[in-house]
Symmetry: C3
Subunit: 471 residues, 3 copies
Amino acid sequence: MNLSPSPDRLFPADPGTRQIARRLYDQVKGAPILSPHGHVDARLLTANEPFPNPAALFITSDHYVTRLLHANGVSLDDLGLARFGVPSSVSPRSIWSKLCDNWSAFAGTPVRYWLESELSEIFGVTETPGPATANAIYDLLEAKLATDEFRPRALFERFNIRVLATTDDPADDLAAHRALRADPTFAGDVIPTFRADRYLTPGAQGWGASLDALAAASDIDCSTYAGLLAALRARRRFFLDNGATSTDTGVADAGSEPLSDSDAERIHSAGLAGTVSTADAIAYRRNLVYRSAEMSTEDGLVMQLHPGVLRNSHAATYAAYGPDTGNDLPSVGSFTRPLSPILEHFGTHPNLHLVLFTVDETVFSREIAPLAGFYPSVYAGAPWWFLDSPAGISRYRAAVTDSAGFAKTSGFIDDTRAFCSIPARHDTSRRSDAAFLSGLVATHQLDEDEAATIAVDLVSTIPANTFKLSL
Amino acid sequence: MNLSPSPDRLFPADPGTRQIARRLYDQVKGAPILSPHGHVDARLLTANEPFPNPAALFITSDHYVTRLLHANGVSLDDLGLARFGVPSSVSPRSIWSKLCDNWSAFAGTPVRYWLESELSEIFGVTETPGPATANAIYDLLEAKLATDEFRPRALFERFNIRVLATTDDPADDLAAHRALRADPTFAGDVIPTFRADRYLTPGAQGWGASLDALAAASDIDCSTYAGLLAALRARRRFFLDNGATSTDTGVADAGSEPLSDSDAERIHSAGLAGTVSTADAIAYRRNLVYRSAEMSTEDGLVMQLHPGVLRNSHAATYAAYGPDTGNDLPSVGSFTRPLSPILEHFGTHPNLHLVLFTVDETVFSREIAPLAGFYPSVYAGAPWWFLDSPAGISRYRAAVTDSAGFAKTSGFIDDTRAFCSIPARHDTSRRSDAAFLSGLVATHQLDEDEAATIAVDLVSTIPANTFKLSL
Amino acid sequence: MNLSPSPDRLFPADPGTRQIARRLYDQVKGAPILSPHGHVDARLLTANEPFPNPAALFITSDHYVTRLLHANGVSLDDLGLARFGVPSSVSPRSIWSKLCDNWSAFAGTPVRYWLESELSEIFGVTETPGPATANAIYDLLEAKLATDEFRPRALFERFNIRVLATTDDPADDLAAHRALRADPTFAGDVIPTFRADRYLTPGAQGWGASLDALAAASDIDCSTYAGLLAALRARRRFFLDNGATSTDTGVADAGSEPLSDSDAERIHSAGLAGTVSTADAIAYRRNLVYRSAEMSTEDGLVMQLHPGVLRNSHAATYAAYGPDTGNDLPSVGSFTRPLSPILEHFGTHPNLHLVLFTVDETVFSREIAPLAGFYPSVYAGAPWWFLDSPAGISRYRAAVTDSAGFAKTSGFIDDTRAFCSIPARHDTSRRSDAAFLSGLVATHQLDEDEAATIAVDLVSTIPANTFKLSL
């Protein structure tokens, strides 16, 4: 079968509405990509080495792909993941064949949709992957990856990425970001994001070592709570000075009750002594989420919050293969009550931008949109993980627009580890939003001129405003 | 841009289905309005004074509007709300300009949809609000409001309102309702609704004063629980005698566990003494919800229940500006378990009509429709606050029809404080229901004759039966 | 009005998409029925007696029908249900008239849709039921039911049922299943399903007697926990030997925490002694759910889990009329956390197929699809009770496909007690899936050839694989 994505894909089936969607999409299809939240490593661009092979590029680095192959009976060993630290000896070509053999398992999923776009539009693949075509496609991909046009920087340029935010540890020296900025041959804007998750939970594995790393990076003793706060403040400043506009926080829940300094110091000490209780560790983490909002009112860094993912839920898989292999699972979302301390104290503060993301779509209409529809500081984050599909985007717009409109949504984030999926994911969002807007136009809830303005805003001024990007 | 709402708005885009929707809507577009639940003050109609100005009519009295302006950075001060009791000196024209300046923030929301209908259809505005048109539109509105045709009674007649239920305190003397009924020049049917929320929670602010007011109105000592029950019973009778057909109750949750008389008396006393615990106060409130159902089986008043709104969630805003400024927020809904005491004891009682409303749409298919699909007493309340949009209405019908059909839904309620939004809101419901029904017809799940009958029933016999309106 | 179901019913309204849906449906409309989960009694087919009358066939045996009649004010007495064990004297014709009188109450519901299909396609009824037609339709149905063509086996054959799974008690001797298999004149495959619900909860009404029955059937003493486990194992083997491929478990929640043998023995003894606490009884039940998964890894029986139904929620109705009268209600679903013990220990075991069903559709996208999208053992069960409508099926596909694709869904189950509804329900599913797939094709997310393959798989290889049916 031919692999030839239609120019009309994701547009409504009704011919009249489809014409509207086409016109709206035409306004934005060529717009530069603003990617304010992702997981590409800045060093990929400083090194600018060729991608090693098709399996590494499309499969092993993308838990969206390994997840569904695993669900369909392919072991993670056969996908080339290192097991208990022992590197795999499975050949990239064999890994690639697993994907092709199970191509039908992806039918109807966004992963399939993105992969088809990437293979067709970036690499010029013209045949549908399958057992009969696996080798030929592999050969084609391998040959292209060896050329200069497929090195990271060339693709970055070809993808028309205007801003790319990475995700970085507070102890990171951001050398790669500085090198990119200093490099006159690289025009892109690659900015860091401050993600302090590993400092939040006293007694968690590696917490003490993390504090040591942060102390080294900040030259501030982190053996006390006060010290940790000071170090975080200092590193936020350092990130700001290096172009960061946002923090990101991924936590089990959105709890944000502050602690007194003395309670926090006590728990910090217990964490270092290895005697902290689970309840105290959680209370400490929630306090730091509160402090993160407080610091955002001071320094203006946008606060992104991604609560509710049960990380590494299958212990045996985590032990053998480590994180990010597909067994992170969504849990019930809750925002209004647990965020109350932050909202009460800072919800109307002009410096705060609080972008809320969820993996539980029931909260879109019940919590996130009503919060974004009252608090000037709150933005309804784009549908993320598990919900980042065409259908998910449609449900998100349907659920949030009534209470929050468009201006209080965040604009799209791709959140991806898979570099080549960036344009496909943004294009999916642009098409899905064009489809949603075309429905409002066709049912006379919006006139087409205004819909076109909104379509453009959604890929320019709206994310720029939400994430404080200077363009 | 022109402001000219399409006659086809909200109808499905598919041309064939749209034709069906048009025909169904034609059956009901001119039907008189039954408004069994709203927040218009009956004194508006007895006084029949001109509305003071466009800002008061469209903005400051409508928390749907102030909410989204606030979310987009307009302070409540700039919207003319009294702050700490100090009346605002902001001019109505300036307030109006805030709405026009932020018109795009409302794109895609039901508020925008209603406002466009109101401005165009009631006031003849032909230009889209915006900075350039704000003054001219204000002038036009101001001029119209000064004419007799735009006084409340004239609009009431023009809106073709057959029944309007207000929301009233049990201590209210209902003088306005009686005056309207006695007035031979006023043909409308304006009926009170018994809303006893402020008597339910011992120890809540103002509870003692409320009991005093009720005692004065009923001439029954309310210093005991038995007295309060007797007074409530007497006032329900008084409301019934003055045309009421319903009660309404807005509570934090749907809990309805009854208490023994002795426990209730003990908590009542503690409430007056200022020593009541939070848990006891909640138990007392839940008991009174149960007693409300019990009284409905005695006197036949329909019981409306609106649980789940977190009122005044932003304390600073509440302290400065009071209630109803947009910071009431939805919480997780739950009906089946908390309502169990009422359903077990009265669920099959022929006198009980229990209309359940939610701000959490996940309960439509999981709880409300299955309850309405078994208990003869239960009706699936129309989508309300946060869900009262075209999209919300569609999702409601899709979620409840499978288990409850149409006959066990409540019919539309507008629930509005904004007088001029009444016809726009009912029209939205009629159009959205026509669209939903047309989809069933187009997919051959219903024939068009039956769909037309249902469309008519939904604006006549269904609300009349649910709310026991005598037409 | 004419009763003449359209050949295009449930297909999308857009003409182009409808053409695609037609072509996809044409691939599967005549496919044999695989019914891996239902409640038809195997003795119906061994006896092969004529169905007693139209009321028994369509109304009294189907709680979907009695439920909504009851909700619309028809008493269960008037529907001929035995009250406190006293058989009803209401005539079948009178019962039938209640359905016809309330035909409009079913408009838009799947029950109405199925009944129309059954009456038209199986019985050749050409008029819409209603007061004026009730008697004539009753006469027609009665006459047909008296003919050999309408006996159970003839209908079984006409319905083209390839496999029918029944639901059976572990103590059942499966004589009817063996008789059917031994009967050379009966070609169908009727297989038992092992449902051990009544053994799970120590101290529940009838638990001791159930243990006695199981002991008698297995010849293993069940007065100890170890004995019960051994008896369950033995009976699973017996079921396997008699064609079973699955177990089924209906529980209040999906909890699956294992107990130590000594704790389980202690609770078992307390259950027999009548001294067991509620908490211990729940812990014991959850342990047995865990053991059921463990046994499935041993013997390969598919494990179906249907948690979350509040059975017999209206005590007065249950006391008078017994179970299955329409007052079972959905509760909040939860899978990821409560199933964690099973998933941690057996989630990647090659012998386990764990099919998860829900009555709370919010878990489709949040829990069931992500679980089925990682664990090889987990399948996303088809939309069941309360969600088994055309709209419910569409929402299910929209919610699960993104994370689980099609291959990790279970295929349709009809779960019905109403024998004549089997073909209508499967046809509903086939049409709804064709409609869903046609939407993916029309929006270029899937090409039509692949969609046709999926449509066929969904009624053949997918259920066969999930439920380990040998065809």
